[in-house]
Symmetry: C2
Subunit: 304 residues, 2 copies
């Protein structure tokens, strides 16, 4: 696969999207994990979110997390914010970038944030306006981009139109979220093809896959072949899916990196250090995580 000899950017989302779906862990453990991830070479880490603590208890104390992490130069520590108030808190905490979320599906958006998609876009406009003054980049995650657990298939054209609208109102970049793990190689191909036809090439699009139905890395491979070069992943596969107890969370960062390095792609990450991070994450949450390479080791680690 010589055409794939390139750089891939990974945003580590374990400390936010991962831990958000686990029982709450102490701030000091979150700080320790983030520091270990940065030391392993990850250059973008979703470190917390500024939502009401009552709504999402595991993310309480995100301000303290941001205050206590060792900032590594060149590493971007990002925060998820639900609204302009959250953006203010993230700025105060010295987040380097903001993430906002809106669903491609009306039903999911209403169930998730009790708003229409249009109302969420209006709120994103307020976040973007605030962030522009503060010179903070904003990325929009389009959730349920590959399917909605309530509505089923989501038309790729709907995703493209929403992406275009979000870029028009000033978000810096777009990430497609496979919120409940409904992506498949075919759906990934369909959505990225339609985006490309709409003038949004795969290299500009981030992909956020879950491994809920086992095809997480197959989906990532499909996106890579379509030209995608930005991926979200979660250390050890931290997280899980609220709709499917026992199901995997995000694709595991170390499994993704293992596959990418074997293809000759560069990530800037030290895989052995990353495996140590996964084992640390496992100790922190106190349950067996679904990551595979953390257990089997890289394929280059031989038996004696």
């Amino acid at each position: 696969m010589p055409e794939l000899l390139e750089r891939v950017s990974i945003r580590e989302v374990g400390p936010r999207d991962g831990l958000q779906n686990e029982a709450p862990v102490p701030v000091e453990d979150r700080v320790r994990l983030i520091n270990a991830l940065a030391a392993a070479g990850l250059s973008c880490i979703e470190a917390g979110s500024f939502v009401r603590a009552e709504a999402i208890p595991p993310m309480a104390g995100s301000d303290e997390v941001f205050a206590r992490i060792d900032r590594v130069p060149g590493v971007r520590y990002t925060a998820l914010v639900p609204n302009a108030k959250g953006a203010e808190l993230a700025l105060a905490a010295r987040a380097d970038a903001l993430e906002v979320v809106v669903s491609a599906s009306e039903t999911h958006n209403r169930k998730n944030v009790n708003r229409t998609v249009g109302e969420s876009v209006d709120e994103i406009v307020r976040v973007v306006t605030f962030a522009a003054d503060a010179r903070l980049p904003v990325e929009a995650v389009i959730s349920t981009a590959f399917g909605c657990p309530y509505e089923g298939d989501v038309e790729p054209a709907t995703v493209v139109a929403l992406a275009r609208r979000l870029l028009d109102v000033g978000v810096e970049s777009i990430c497609l979220g496979d919120t409940t793990g409904m992506a498949t190689p075919r759906r990934v191909d369909d959505v990225l093809t339609r985006l490309d036809q709409g003038g949004l090439g795969a290299p500009e699009i981030g992909l956020h896959f879950h491994d809920t139905r086992g095809s997480g890395l197959a989906n990532a491979l499909t996106a890579l072949r379509a030209g995608a070069r930005r991926f979200d992943a979660s250390i050890g596969g931290l997280g899980g899916c609220p709709y499917a107890p026992g199901a995997s969370g995000n694709i595991a960062t170390e499994d993704l990196v293992h596959m990418l390095h074997d293809m000759g792609m560069e990530t800037g990450v030290d895989l052995e250090a990353l495996i140590e991070c996964a084992l640390l994450a496992e100790r922190i949450v106190g349950r067996t995580l679904p990551g595979q390479v953390m257990r089997a080791g890289p394929r280059t680690r031989l038996a004696s």
Copy 2:
């Protein structure tokens, strides 16, 4: 992916390769599982092996399993045999086809069966000779085809030469085994390309992947795109890897079928019935299996 609108054959290996790596379960449970798999539409099921019971206790009583299953017309019930003596036992048990195994790596073959690769091929010749008289087809599984846990990378040319040699001595077909989960999309591409150059097209080659490092379905997808149409898989991901406690076993049949059906490919299998089989397998072995679709359900199963 219109080019993929085709038929894919699946050999279900859970009752042998899967259960072989679990604590022994009673014959009646093995029979119940095999009958359920056949009822779900699987047309090829590896039902047992004829090895010394002391060597592999979970496979003891394979003759009884074969005697007690309900034979569904059109379903091929296969048996793994280590030698001509095993082939005799499999014939007596009315197995429909035989599988033999030899490693692409000398070190793995010696550790596995205490023979050189050449000695294993000689034994396969004896099996094939016996099977020809009995009109039993023989498939040879080339293990460590994508890497050896002792020697590391295995040259694709070595795999091609061994495949050619096995076909020359009369085995009906070849399956490439990723014995310890060292396959990656790149390795799959490399080996299948080399086989194709050697006159062995992907459609004729079976693929046997484990999900030891998370890329099981990504490997299967790569093989599909190279033209492969025969896969081994294990219900619920039964099995595991002796070299990596806690690591996944074979790719889960229901996860593979879920991905294939979404691509519009035909398998002849009823996915919902297959999920019930995975849940049955989980009850039988009494531990949580790594299959994902068995937990999350197919992507078409919507929330209310």
